[in-house]
């Protein structure tokens, strides 16, 4: 696969799985980037993951997703505790008849 990177920000501008060399450069130029600011690379999965690790937007997205998952987990935990306290479900997650 090929990726195009904005050198200054380390952002991955685009990925294409089977592009011919130069395609992503032309796309970036077409989007207004300067040729000296962009770099096209052929990478494997590990190379792509390495580039993503350097991409500040990807890192921010990952952080946002992680925080979201933490919040979801906490909400789920509190909801389960509340249902157990109300006697609607048992501690192993089974519903109590007549209470659901």
């Amino acid at each position: 696969m090929r990726i195009c990177i904005h050198k200054t920000t380390r952002r991955i501008l685009e990925l294409q799985s089977a592009a011919t060399p130069g395609t992503l450069i032309r796309n970036a130029l077409n989007a207004g980037f300067k040729e000296t600011d962009i770099e096209e690379r052929e990478v494997d999965r590990a190379g792509y993951d390495a580039a993503r690790a350097e991409d500040p937007v990807v890192a921010a997205e990952a952080e946002r997703i992680a925080v979201g998952e933490l919040i979801q987990a906490k909400i789920r935990e509190q909801a389960i505790a509340a249902l157990i306290a109300e006697g609607k479900i048992t501690a192993d997650g089974k519903t109590v008849k007549g209470k659901s």
Binding site: E14, Q16, A18, A19, T23, N30, G32
Partner: protein, 204 residues
Amino acid sequence: MADVKLSEIPAATTMATGDLIPFTTDPGGSPISKNITRENLFKQLALGSDADGDMYYRASSLLARLAKGTANHKLFMNAAGTAPEWASGIAIISSTRLMDAATGDVAYTGAGFKPSHVIVFANVATTTMACWGMASGTPSDESIHYNYDGIVNHGGVFIYLNEASGKRQTAVMKTMDADGFTLTWTLTGATTSATASLYFLCLR
């Protein structure tokens, strides 16, 4: 023309409509290789390393051999429209699109042929933004998309990633190219810097 032995026909003889050369199923005679038999005529179809499954087609007033194709490949006309060829005719291209990328044309290459139709699945991870679209070579893009507000909608664009009211990335098919296609993307509003995943199924 009256009946005459082939060996007695003058070299410059022009055959006339209605003149017939009778075939014989008798492979005997001398020499056998020069006897006009169906067997000997079929031998003239040996155009190289012929194999079962090969096909023959007209090329520059002669016969040319099309070697048998790979299993489950399909027969297409080549890009020049001059000869048949075997190919799968299907390719998948995966790509990404920054939600805050500027309006402009984007070329997608590597299909290996000029598609006639393209189907796309697109989404932005951990959001409700998703889209399923299809396009042909003519401006007839269509898509179904799942919006930021959980509403499923449809429209006359190939890709519609609706982040919020007045904030979206959309794309229409501009051209089908020799090795892929080109989309015209339009950025509307101030979108966030998320990354959309795109999966294109290209059909020859």
